[in-house]
Amino acid sequence: MCLLWNLPKMSSRTWSLFWGSRFVKTPLQNGIGRYVQQLQRITLKFCKTHGGSQGMRDYIEKELIHFAKENPGVVVYVKPRRHRSPCLKAEYLNGGEEYISMHRLPADDIVRWMAYLRGRSGYPTDRIRKDQHTDHPSIQGPWTPWLHRDPQTNVAQYPNEDLSCVEVMGRSATEELREMFKKQKLVSSYKRSVES
């Protein structure tokens, strides 16, 4: 993670060339029906005297016991070492490892980083192309260009005047007038026939 701060600005395309991109997935359909803890072992390394480890020491004093109780499947190691900066090292079921420096971080932040490492799958982080994934894309079947299309278009001869012209919404004033004129003529012819 620390490496990334020094990288120059790059487009997502260049980024993907180096760091890759993938679709959303979970190892062995984890979490569907049952959940298998992917984090197997976590090692908290710190120094007993240096100020940079103050947050880590606070965390071990107050919070670590709760983490260990809530996650009985995770082996927690605490490893004091003289005059070295603190870090978290997580090891996962698939053999993946992650190392995060905890230098000068307060205990609150370490709580969050522990939660982050616990939720990881152990696979390297990539840019995710799409937020969703499904093994059963559609029950009705995928869309095709012929879906909900008028069957008349399959047998029509092109160019086709009816399929090309604008769909008329309502009648124009001219058509209204002609209609009225027709009715008037009918009425007057009826009257004339009655009179005669």
Binding site: P142, W143, T144, W146, Y158, C165, V166, R178, F181
Partner: protein, 179 residues
């Protein structure tokens, strides 16, 4: 992949051929509509990485209707690259040289400016009149509706239609219609 899935794939990503009659249509408004078809944004499966554009065959591009004073006012710029190589061509001049070019340039300028633009333009087939080669006609599977109704001129009506049209008043018999 089973045979059914393979056919399903062909059906979903099959390229359709649409016809568009440009007669009496504004080419710049039409370009907005044609753009959707040749870049595939009219489909629910559209995705920027997904090559799903359709072919559009434009006919009667000679009979387009430009709005307002555009025939005289619209100017097309070209530069050969050599000193003094700039040239400005009015829309009516360009249309006289090549009656498909106004539509082509209208669509080209409406498309997104990226490397896919030439590929999308290759799916646009423009014909000056309504004569289309048979090899293209047999591909057609749909027609895009025009944006505006094509007006009908008085001399296109039959004499009967003109005579049966209701008159508000009759001219006096001795009235001379000035021409």
């Amino acid at each position: 992949m089973s045979a059914i899935r393979r056919v399903q794939q062909w059906a979903t990503f099959g390229r359709m051929w649409y016809l568009y009659d440009a007669k009496w249509q504004n080419p710049f408004d039409s370009a907005d509509k044609i753009k959707e078809y040749i870049s595939g944004t009219h489909k629910p499966i559209y995705h920027p990485l997904n090559d799903c554009g359709d072919h559009v065959v434009v006919i009667n591009s000679r009979h387009i209707a430009l709005p307002g004073m555009e025939w005289e006012r619209r100017v097309y710029f070209h530069h050969t690259g050599y000193p003094g190589g700039a040239s400005w061509t009015l829309a009516w001049e360009l249309h006289r040289k090549d009656p498909t070019l106004v539509v082509r340039k209208a669509v080209y300028s409406k498309l997104d400016k990226n490397l896919l633009r030439r590929g999308k333009m290759a799916r646009l087939h423009i014909f000056a009149d309504d004569e289309v080669p048979n090899s293209i006609l047999e591909n057609l599977s749909g027609q895009i509706r025009q944006l505006r109704a094509v007006p009908k001129r008085l001399d296109h009506y039959t004499d009967e239609e003109i005579k049966s049209f209701p008159r508000i008043f009759d001219w006096p018999k001795d009235y001379v219609i000035p021409n």
